[in-house]
């Protein structure tokens, strides 16, 4: 077998190996989510939490509190920005956060 064929086959074989299915650290997922939402918020208001809930996407306990405020500007704010769950999840792989429907908690699931 010539070298070209060897390396070509090696690349194909190793890319198909099950060990290559690595998972992103939950800490990284938390950072990605925060960065995406921050980026979106920078260019205008986020979709209101009320609309998100109406769409059938469940909210966490803090978001539920915010979404009942009768002010569109407030329901479009990002409460995660000041939430302990975000801060812990961006720093630690298994932080002690357990809020239902919190994306930062969801990222911990394996």
């Amino acid at each position: 077998m010539d070298e070209e064929r060897f390396f070509t086959m090696l690349a194909e074989t190793t890319d198909a190996a099950p060990e290559t299915a690595e998972r992103a650290p939950s800490r990284l997922k938390s950072q990605l989510y925060s960065a995406m939402v921050t980026e979106q918020a920078a260019s205008g208001p986020l979709r209101s939490l009320r609309d998100t809930k109406a769409e059938g996407r469940p909210l966490c306990v803090f978001e539920n509190v915010v979404q009942v405020v009768p002010n569109e500007r407030i329901t479009s704010m990002n409460p995660c920005r000041i939430c302990h769950a975000r801060i812990l999840a961006e720093q630690f792989e298994s932080p002690p956060i357990y809020w239902p429907h919190c994306p930062y908690v969801h990222f911990q699931r394996r």
Binding site: M1, D2, E3, R5, F6, F7, T8, M9, L10, A11, T13, T14, D15, A16, A17, P18, E19, T20, A21, E22, R23, A24, P25, L28, K29, Q31, L32, Y33, A35, M36, V37, E39, Q40, A41, G44, P45, L46, R47, D51, T52, E55, R57, P58, L59, N78, C80, P103, H106, F107, R109
Partner: protein
């Protein structure tokens, strides 16, 4: 978490047309929600696609674990900026990997352009044969062995091999991308292969 196919669309192979259509429709719904700045959709987007993008970047940049997370972050932010241009001609994960591939190639390019990118401290001698592929039959073993060997190679050798064989770029394309001559790239690849082979046979 991968999307759940509906019972009607479910396919044992996961590749049938109804399944593919259901998946595409599901992706379009998710994209539309992300573009509407729905934060829960953004969370779902990250949860679904961070693993494959991370896995790809991690394999291609190993052992530079310090760079992987930064590159993945860049990929997601670029994807967010360009999401409204996604036409659905490929899968969303394929599109994201395409963005990641550009970032990975930027890294390879920088390594091959670096002044010390063509190390001379490794013997040029290239033996006539190639390593046997007996080890490759066991994909898992080959994967860990390959990764271990790549980690031991000088960074320019590693980048050259990954770019040429794992990213399937020709030496002509690599030369054009780095401003080197094709001959220089071929010389570098020959040295990289020789070093890899030596480590493969002794490990």
């Amino acid at each position: 978490m991968p999307p759940e196919p509906s019972p009607a669309a479910e396919s044992p192979s996961g590749t049938s047309r109804p399944y593919a259509l259901a998946l595409a429709a599901d992706e379009q719904t998710l994209i539309a929600a992300v573009l509407q700045k729905d934060r829960k959709a953004a969370a779902e987007f990250v949860d679904r696609y961070a693993d494959p993008v991370y896995g790809y970047v991690s394999r291609r940049l190993a052992p530079r674990a310090d760079l992987v997370e930064d590159v993945v972050q860049e990929v997601f932010l670029i994807a967010l900026q360009k999401l409204d241009t996604f036409t659905g001609q490929s899968s969303l994960v394929g599109w994201l990997i395409g963005i990641a591939r550009h970032k990975v190639e930027d890294f390879y390019r920088s390594q091959l352009r670096a002044p010390d990118g063509f190390p001379d401290d490794v013997a040029d001698a290239i033996s006539s044969g190639a390593p046997h592929l007996d080890d490759v039959i066991d994909a898992a073993r080959a994967h860990s062995k390959t990764r271990r060997i790549l980690e031991q190679l000088p960074v320019a050798y590693r980048a050259a091999l990954l770019w040429r064989y794992w990213e399937k770029r020709s030496s002509k394309e690599m030369a054009a991308s780095t401003g080197k001559t094709e001959k220089a790239i071929e010389r570098l690849l020959a040295r990289a292969r020789a070093s890899f082979k030596r480590l493969w046979e002794t490990s």
